[in-house]
Symmetry: C2
Subunit: 336 residues, 2 copies
Amino acid sequence: MIRIALDAMGSDKAPQVEVEGAAQALQELPPDFRLQLVGRKADIEAALSRVGDVDRARVEIVDAPDVVAMGDKPLAAIRGKPRSSIAVGLGLQKKGKSDAFISAGNTGAVMAASTLVLRLHPGVQRAAIGALFPSAGQPVLVLDAGANIDCDARELVGFAHLGSVYARDVLDRPNPTVGLLNIGEEDEKGNAVVKEAHQLLKQTAGLHYIGNVEGREIPVGEARGLRLDVVVCDGFVGNVVLKFYESAGRVFVSLIKREAPDVLQRPEMANVLKVLDYATYGGAPLLGVQGVVIICHGASPAQAIKNAIRVAIQAVKSHLSDDIASEFAHDGKIPA
Amino acid sequence: MIRIALDAMGSDKAPQVEVEGAAQALQELPPDFRLQLVGRKADIEAALSRVGDVDRARVEIVDAPDVVAMGDKPLAAIRGKPRSSIAVGLGLQKKGKSDAFISAGNTGAVMAASTLVLRLHPGVQRAAIGALFPSAGQPVLVLDAGANIDCDARELVGFAHLGSVYARDVLDRPNPTVGLLNIGEEDEKGNAVVKEAHQLLKQTAGLHYIGNVEGREIPVGEARGLRLDVVVCDGFVGNVVLKFYESAGRVFVSLIKREAPDVLQRPEMANVLKVLDYATYGGAPLLGVQGVVIICHGASPAQAIKNAIRVAIQAVKSHLSDDIASEFAHDGKIPA
C-alpha cells in the first residue's frame, strides 16, 4: 500500500482545496494507496466534514500545528517552525512512514526543507524542479523551472539525467530526447555556461541528447523531427518562461471570453484549451532528493491536487528515487 | 522628404516580399517618404514589374550585387561582402543620403554592420534589439531580444534608457514604465547581475522604474496596476521568450484550426488573433546606434515589411536617434 503525505495547509485555499483533491483522488484513482493529510487537525477535520463522502479508512490525519506562510523566508520557516506541515510531512518520509510528499505551499520552503530533510542522492549537485509544458504534441518536461538561479554547466548536465529518469519512469518515454535551451541550434550559440554544457552533453553517455533547442520548439513539442521530451535550462530562464506561458494561456482564454464567449463552450475547443491548463498536469517534481516530492501551484484547484497525487503514486510505483540513485551512480556521473 | 533604405535581399522570399511590402507602404501610408530599394538591380526590377502599380517616382533602386546569406558568419559577411545590400544600405545612412535602414536579412550581420558603420551613440555600451510583445493591453517593448547574450548590470540600465526613449518617441507613451524581468518582485530575487541592476535602476534619475516584473506580467501588459511599457532583460532570456511566444501563438492557432476551423473565420476572433500576429508590429528596432535600423523576421510577410516602413518613418519623424543621444548625454549617464 502506497502512502502519500499531502500538505493540507499549502495552497491559497487550504485546507479545503487539498481535502477536495484528496477526496477526488480516493474516488477516481486505483485504490492501492492511502493518504496522510498533514496540518492543523481541527481545520482538516472541518474541511473533511464539508466535503462529505471520503473513505476515512484510507485517510490518516497527521497533526502539524505550525503553518508556513507564502511570504516566510524559506530557511527561517524551516528552522523556526519545526512542527509545520512541511517539516512533519517530509519527516514521515525520512522515517520510512511515507512514500511521497505533496505541497502547494511556499515553494522555496518546500525545496529547502526537502533538501535538508531528505538529502540529495550521492552525485546530484542540485535538486531541480521539473515543469511539464503543454505542447501541440506530448507535454515537454522543462527543468530547472526555478529551484536554481545560477547554474554551471555540470549542473545542467545533472538536470539532463534527472529529467531523463523522470521521463522514463513517470511520463512513459522509454528513450527520452534531451534538448538544451539556447538561442540557436549551432554549437557556438549561447552564453559561456550553455556553450560548455552543450559540449559536455555531447560527450555524456546514457543520454539521448539531440542538441541545442530554441524557445519556439517547446510549444511545438518537437525538435530535429523528434518528439521533444526533456529541455534543460537554468532556473532563471525556466521560471521566466514557465510563468510567461501560464499567463499567455490565461490571457488568450480571457480574450476569447471577451470577444466570442460561446466559442469556449464548444466541445471541440476542449482539446485546444487543455493545452493551456496546468491543472491537467497537477504538480512539478523536485528531482534529485532521496524520495518523492511534488510541488503544486499555490493557486491549484482540487483537480490539480488530485493529479499531483496520481503523479506521486506513479513516481513511487516506478521507483523513481531508486532509479535516480542508480543513474547518478553510473551514467549520471558528471565528467570531471 | 524622408528617405527609407530597404534591404531588398533580406527575407526568405526576397526580393518579392520586400517589393510587395514597399508597394503597400507607398499606397497606404502618408506620402511624405520615398524608398531606396537596395540589392541586385535586375532582381528588384523583375519583382517590381511583377507587382505592377508602384509609384516609381518615389522609388530609387540602389544596386548592391553581393548578398549576405542567412548562414553567413556576421563579421565575415561584412568584411567579405562590402557591396552587399546590408553594407550599401547602411552606407547610404552614414553618408547622410538616407534616414533609416530596414532589413529582414541575417540578424547577426545587420547588427554587426550597423554598429561598425553607424557607430554607437556616446555613452551607449551596447546596442539592443527591442521586440514588441503583444499583450492583453498595449504591446510591451522587451529588450534586449537577442543582440547581447551576456549583459552586466550597467548594460541593463542602458537598455532601460534606450527602451524608454523608443517608447516615448515611437509608441507614444509619454512617461513609460520600466520593469526588470525577474523571477519574483522582491529585492533579493534573481541572479547577481539582475540584483545589481535592480539596485542601480532604483537609483537612476529620469526613468519611471517600477521594479522587478515576472514573465506572467508581459502577456497581461500590466504590473503594479500600471500599464507595462518597457521590460529589460539580457538577450539570452529575451530571445528565448520571444521565440517561445511567437511559437505558442502559432501552435494555438493551428490547434484551433484542427479542432474547430470555422472559429478562426469569425469576425470577433480577429481581435483575439491580432494579439498573436507579429506581422502587425513589423520589425524590431536596433537601439543605440547613431541612426535608425529596423530588423525584420526572415519569414516576414509583405504586411510586416510595410509596417516596418511605418515604424521607421515614425522613428525618423520623432528624432529617435537625436533623443537617444540626448538621453545618454544627460539622464542616461550610467552611475559609475
